[in-house]
Amino acid sequence: MTDFFQNTLGMSYEFAWFTATIAGILLIALPLMLAVAMIIYVDRKVWAAIALRRGPNVVGPFGLLQSFADGLKVFLQETIIPSAANKGLFLIAPIVTFTVALLAWAVIPFGPEAVLADINIGLLYVLAISSLGVYGVVVSGWASNSKYPFFSAMRAAAQMISYEVSIGFILICVILYAGSSNLNTIIVAQIGHGFGLVNAFAFNLLLFPMWVMFLISSLAETARAPFDLTEAESELVAGYQTEYSSMSFALFWLGEYANVLLMAALNAILFFGGWLPPLNIDLIPWFDIPGFIWLFAKIFFFFFVFSWVKATVPRFRYDQLMRLGWKVFLPLSLAFVVLTSGWLMLTRYG
């Protein structure tokens, strides 16, 4: 895009780069916000369908505009700051959550060339940014100066750190197979990986269990059901969001869904070939369909899985959550790092 600004519009290189980057950010962030609004609607529709209800169906055709109505509502609400809260941090916390949720999208490839920042250490960057997500929750819990948010913050801190450990090991397995931590290289490495037919890492005996663990861990990392202990309404009212209202509440909401979409995108990119078409056969002109459509389809599929899980699986108890993270996922993922690297040593580098 820099080329475009430089050559077509005749800007100087630095200015063109700057404009291109800003344009890229807007091109990702604005559709993302729109997607979040729509995906909330989809989420509610899926739960409704599973619970044999109708879901939102009043605002706009099929209730499509429901999220926008909700958004308008919170915009017009008064921002209430509890008198005993730590004012600055209380207001910063939702901004942190929201910003961090957007940050990671910088390295997500939407097509062979369509990446905002095509960096070598893309996957590490994603890991680093997702480990920041916990701050919004912890800070909001502490700054609210109220017991339920505080409990929620404690839970969130422990939960996210626990699951990040095994996510790290899972990502190492993927990096080992792809030989790079650049997300585009990882996607390209998946061409015909499954039996020379399927463009996905998930069709590999060593990586399939990793994908299952990654899917579950991404539920835990985004604190979605069944791991939504941070906002377990039966125990903690609404968790860290208890004291929030109006825009700051909406920011949490947006950040949370942007994170969910990110995790769905990561599932698609790391294990299901990202912007590649699912099969490596060109009988039908699949490769002519733009890559981002495939990616969006895959993200949408994983989002459906997420809301399916949320509607059907009961919430874990806290000790069960910790047990799963530390006693099941951690040893398993560690064992698979050894297995994967051993297998690659034997077959690829041996």
Partner: protein, 206 residues
Amino acid sequence: MIQTLAFYLFAVLVTASATMVILSRNPVHSVLWLILSFFNAAGLMVLVGAEFIALLLVIVYVGAVAVLFLFVVMMLDIDFSELRAGFMKNFPIGVAIAVVLLTELVLGIGAYRAGALQLGAPTGDAVPIPGRGNIDSLGAVLYTDYLFLFEAAGIILLVAMVGAIVLTHREQKATRGHQNIGKQVRRNPDEATVMKQPEVGAGVEL
């Protein structure tokens, strides 16, 4: 130009937030400033081309260490007035140490600038390979030349872990909340439930 701007932005923020770590009265704020300072230090690392170190700094320090730090500090019940009570008493010593350190810094940098200090030339053959990322170069050294030390460092971490467990872990009897999930999953309805059709008024013998 952008690089210079970014450098000054990060450098100023690192220094400012590091200052705020010691100046803020609330320990939680201190930790949060510390996190900001780590983050900007990572930015500086990116500027010098050490992107791997930068991300490690974020993942390890910001993402894990500082979270646990925050976790602990948040739960501490700190009496601020008590903390500040000894301030005036220790103030002269603090100032003295600061002055000594400042003098050392000024002398050291001064001597270096004046050419009085001769630094050794690196003897290693660690020439950066063009087109190779941080991770590749680091791994190529770490797993060959320094393999022995790398493994030994692993054993250090193991010892640290064993030590922490030995010093804190206490055997507990299984109490409430203990659950054997494998056992629960293996159970089947036949052995867990009994169908009874009691006569009216006869009751059920368990």
